[in-house]
């Protein structure tokens, strides 16, 4: 696989590992947060940590869209299926996320909900066209990466004049989350020396939105691809910035990310969606201007307006440390119920749900280190 296999090459990894080992000064510790679940996954699945010196530590960030989805939003999707008898189309990632009353979308299926996994927003639209007598709701979640396809299908549905298609819009934005993490850090929290910045989000929005973090918070940010060598190279670049005393925004992922991103995708999103005043993130709480909703012009495709749906805040399990983990101030193994009560089969918190979640990644790929 061109442009995939090369970025997983074991020999190049050895070289990057050696360079990282050289660059890391033995007298100090480094902690970098990889913002995205994609990075978390690459680090875990390829065992990148084993190639890092002991004094370079990676801290998982909040960039897993499944993890930050609050229970109340999944409850809404289940309500669409069970109470409003809509066909609910969902990306596979969301099917097993625990919701209220011991349910999940998967369990709602086994209680009669017509919930279908789709691989693309386009499949959801097609489902609506194929089932004209049924209401079809697309459970749209994801960061800026996944938002443009949702905007495309809403425009298409409008052009087609579909009366049975709507979107339960749960799209969220990465910069507010990064602000939140930096703004809420306490002096007692482990210091974070820099960020591995989003890969595919940045293909859409570009690297420019992260410049403010380098300048305002004096933290180096390196946009990096999701292949393991990309992550290693980003770590090397972060080490150099720290050692040089710089706090800049750098781009390792030049093959896909530019400073301005994809203007066409941005325009379509801006045409269909608008900022919400506020939105609850699981683990992080309510954040202002951190999510998107359908514009009034597309109101008839908004499941929240088409159906009598109300959002309720559902608190997480009390023992769950997801919030602290998502903010990078705790590790999965710091949670009292990690691996005992909370496992990928029976996730208690959001970080255990997606394989990109910090707890699931550690459970699935990393437990041997304990």
């Amino acid at each position: 696989m061109k442009y995939v296999d090369e970025f997983r090459d074991g020999k190049l990894a050895q070289g990057l590992a050696a360079a990282i080992a050289r660059e890391a000064r033995p007298e100090r510790h480094y902690a970098f947060m990889e913002f995205c679940g994609g990075h978390t996954h690459a680090i875990s699945r390829y065992g990148v940590t084993d190639l890092l010196p002991a004094n370079v530590r990676m801290v998982h960030g909040p960039g897993c869209p499944v993890c930050v989805l609050p229970i109340g939003r999944i409850d809404m999707a289940i309500e669409l299926a069970l109470r409003h008898q809509a066909i609910v189309c969902s990306y596979g990632d969301c099917l097993r996320v625990p919701a209220s009353d011991g349910l999940s979308l998967m369990k709602a299926r086994s209680r009669g909900g017509d919930i279908r996994m789709v691989y693309s927003a386009a499949d959801a639209l097609k489902t609506a066209q194929d089932n004209p007598a049924r209401q079809v709701a697309f459970f749209a979640i994801g960061f800026e990466t996944t938002t443009p396809p949702t905007a495309v299908v809403v425009k298409q549905a409008a052009a087609l004049g579909l009366k049975n298609f709507s979107v339960l819009c749960c799209h969220v934005l990465t910069p507010p989350a990064m602000h939140h993490i930096l703004a809420t850090r306490q002096p007692s929290d482990i210091a974070i020396d820099g960020f591995v910045g989003p890969a595919h989000v940045s293909t859409v929005i570009g690297s420019r939105p992260y410049e403010v973090f380098a300048s305002d918070y004096r933290k180096p940010v390196v946009i990096a691809g999701f292949e393991p060598l990309d992550v290693m190279q980003a770590i090397l670049m972060l080490l150099k910035q720290v050692n040089d005393g710089r706090a800049e925004i750098e781009n390792e992922f030049t093959r896909a990310v530019t400073r301005d991103g994809n203007p066409k995708a941005q325009a379509i999103v801006a045409e269909v969606l608008e900022l919400r005043d506020e939105f609850e993130w699981r683990g992080l709480g309510v954040m202002k201007k951190s999510a998107l909703a359908l514009r009034r012009e597309y109101a008839e495709f908004d499941a929240e307006r088409r159906f009598p749906l109300a959002y309720s805040v559902v608190p997480d399990n009390k023992a769950c440390e997801c919030g602290a983990i998502l903010r990078g101030v705790k590790r999965p193994q710091d949670c009292a119920i990690f691996g005992t009560v909370c496992t990928p089969e029976n996730p208690m918190g959001s970080c255990m749900v997606s394989s990109e979640g910090a707890c699931a990644a550690h459970y699935t790929y990393g437990r041997y280190k304990q």
Partner: protein
């Protein structure tokens, strides 16, 4: 470090849980279902081997192997459920070959959404039936299909048994002059199922006869009488079973309607529905074709066994090139007892 219980942690919620697709995925959820539900009920040393199949001790003699899929609806009915039925049905198929049933396998096809409590009840019933019969379930399989692609649960059981070297019971051994013995009343199972059907709208105190027959068969074989063939008249009822034997052996059979036991409620329910009890399923009855000279001996052995207390001589084998099964009616006339044609019955086994 955190102590992780082997493989999974939170017990199955048998009370309120439901089967979902992960229970058939081959992953941890499936292992948990197997261990906390199936293995708990079926517990035996062979199943505990935990391999892809069961390794069983040497068993002398010829093997008998029989299989049946069970798709009965409803799953629970007066006198039993799909679980015990699936054990009895296959044990009986092995036993009527003259074999001692030794081992069973069980394979489950579960529909997404099926309540675990019902599954637990069914599996417990299988375990009880298997234990009572002394025939362990030594290996199994579980698959889960999407909601709407099955009907709760289907169970296929396969039985293996051993027959002594000198014994061959087979449907092709009936000879003119032989007698036809029946172990008890007919139609109870099928009508018990029908009585549960809401759309038929009748209520009757009819209980399925589902039972394992190998004990009765052992008692019959112990007489050393000349038994030509045994068969359990399940789907298609007595009429179909007798026709099968007549066809396999190339003979005719003359039955005596008055001699065939039918419980009153079964007869009445058949009257309502326009059915003939001869075609209604049984799950705990057997037909024996026996040399005429040994009729009394075998009948006595049957009647001495609780499952054969109402055993009766119901007919005789005759020469007939057409292999017709005929019957002297209660009225004194004569009729053909044909194969079952069509089927408007609910699923019964």
């Amino acid at each position: 470090m955190t102590k992780v219980r082997e493989g999974y942690v939170r017990p199955l919620d048998i009370k309120n849980g439901r089967v979902d697709l992960t229970h058939g995925s081959g992953g941890r959820a499936m292992v948990q279902l197997i261990e906390e539900l199936f293995a708990r009920h079926f517990a035996n040393e062979w199943l505990a081997q935990g391999n892809d199949g069961a390794l069983l001790p040497p068993a002398g003699g010829r093997l008998v192997m029989a299989t049946d899929a069970h798709v009965v609806s409803p799953l629970f009915f007066p006198g039993g459920d799909i679980g015990c039925l699936s054990v009895h049905g296959t044990i009986n198929d092995v036993a009527v070959m003259g074999a001692t049933p030794l081992w069973l396998s069980a394979s489950f096809i579960l529909e997404e959404g099926f309540p675990l409590a019902d599954l637990d009840r069914i599996v417990a019933s299988m375990a009880r039936a298997s234990k009572e019969a002394g025939v362990p379930i030594v290996t199994g399989d579980t698959k889960v299909v999407e909601a709407g692609k099955a009907d709760g649960v289907f169970i296929t059981t396969t039985g293996v048994g051993m027959v002594p070297e000198d014994l061959t019971l087979s449907g092709d051994r009936a000879r003119p002059g032989d007698v036809v013995l029946l172990s008890g009343s007919i139609g109870d199972h099928g009508m018990a199922i029908m009585a549960t059907r809401e759309n038929l709208g009748f209520a009757a105190p009819i209980v399925s006869d589902t039972a394992a027959l190998h004990g009765l068969i052992a008692a019959m074989l112990a007489t050393d009488a000349e038994i030509r063939c045994l068969r359990d008249p399940t789907r298609g009822g007595l009429a179909t079973t007798i026709n099968e034997i007549a066809r396999q052996s190339g003979v005719g059979v003359m039955l005596d309607e008055a001699a065939i036991p039918v419980n009153g409620e079964v007869a009445a329910a058949c009257e309502f529905l326009g059915l003939d009890p001869l075609y209604v399923a049984n799950e705990g009855k057997l037909v024996a074709i026996v040399a005429a000279a040994d009729a009394d001996t075998v009948l006595a052995a049957m009647r001495a066994h609780p499952q054969g207390s109402r055993a009766a001589l119901i007919g005789e084998v005759v020469a007939d090139d057409h292999h017709f099964v005929q019957m002297t009616t209660g009225l004194g006339g004569r009729r053909i007892v044909d194969w079952l044609t069509g089927d408007q019955l609910p699923r019964i086994c």
